[in-house]
Symmetry: C2
Subunit: 219 residues, 2 copies
């Protein structure tokens, strides 16, 4: 048997939440995420796993309505950008390199109260990883951001919060509108979160997945 967390979620509750989840096309602008649920989603983002634990990311929550309005045309005009209660821009570290690794090593030493020398080997592995060809390092860092997206969407579903991931954004325009590169970041993708509109026709359609036996194979 596995060691279960004190408040582990039942298999049925998890399946129910994941089957309820849809990529919401139409949010009800009047529906707000309760504060406790939003705080848990922010915590889920900060706790998302990444390679080496490097967290090569930052999450920008766009509250400013004027900024939201500017982002909509950079998002194929999709209404979720302005209608959803929250809009999270998932960003990746620009020029991920030794500076970020050193900052992380310092953070480990701070949290775990250990000397830097205890991390020599670990530090070297990370430095090697970020010293590869820049385009390769960037692609790797962007893949990590997609883990955080999976964590966010699953967490939202578990909490009964609606969400919609959006890859189809003009990243350069996002960068420009939000001033991300000057802060050291680049936009990767977006997730809107809030509550679905009662008349969201898409949300009522049957979920389409390939047959379980096409998706999972036992070897």
């Amino acid at each position: 048997m596995t060691v279960a967390t004190p408040e582990a979620v039942s298999p049925q509750a998890l399946k129910s939440a994941l089957n309820w989840r849809v990529a919401v096309k139409k949010f009800d602008p009047a529906r707000r995420i309760p504060a406790a649920q939003w705080a848990a989603l922010e915590e889920a983002l900060t706790l998302a796993p990444s390679s080496y634990g490097l967290q090569p990311w930052k999450f920008f929550v766009v509250e400013d309505k004027a900024l939201r309005a500017k982002l909509q045309p950079a998002s194929w005009g999709q209404a979720q950008i302005v209608d959803a209660d929250k809009l999270v821009v998932f960003a990746v570290k620009k020029d991920l390199g030794p500076d970020h690794v050193e900052r992380f090593i310092e953070r480990i030493c701070e949290v775990r109260r250990m000397p830097k020398e205890a991390l020599t080997q670990y530090r070297k592995m990370m430095l090697d990883s970020v010293s590869l060809e820049p385009a390769r390092v960037q692609a790797w860092a962007i893949r990590q951001v997609y883990i955080a997206l999976g964590v966010f969407l699953t967490s939202a579903a578990a909490l009964g919060v609606d969400a919609c991931p959006m890859e189809g954004i003009d990243k350069d325009q996002y960068d420009q509108i939000l001033g991300l590169p000057a802060k050291g970041w680049n936009a990767v993708l977006v997730a809107a979160a809030g509550g679905r509109a009662d008349d969201d026709a898409y949300a009522k359609l049957a979920k389409v997945r390939f047959d379980r036996h096409e998706l999972i194979e036992i070897l």
Copy 2:
């Protein structure tokens, strides 16, 4: 207020599960995942979101102990490969192209009982996306696999099941040992799942994350 699922998980329960989660370095080989929890994890994999809903992936669950033993040297010798109750190889569709799109369109028509003609625009968008430069299409498909990883790890944590994601595998060797390319797939990464050993020293260390205010910024 958002519409909550009937059995929505409380913010406290989610936070507790995500804080409990660690990338387990040492599994207890005697600890097994209960059948209901594993079934829920398989369902979580099949329900994972992907761009367009295309599911450019397949999940190979390696039960064969001899195969596991062969995979260990292709995984930096990490013990999780053989000690964990379950080992899931996340694979991406090789040569993602029009065939996969057509198969998906047929599946939508089947599940939603709609004519193919109703999906003309959607089909065209997907065909355009998979007709870009092959390396670009492949990179995009691989990023989707990382969403599924995030879903799997979050779901496991919610259920109180331990897991460990592993990017550091020799993918070519995995492909060869498991015969994936002949089946149309390529290994991307691995997740082991089971129960942590009582003496896993890493699991007892404090979780290291950058400060919340460094990871999340309100705009």
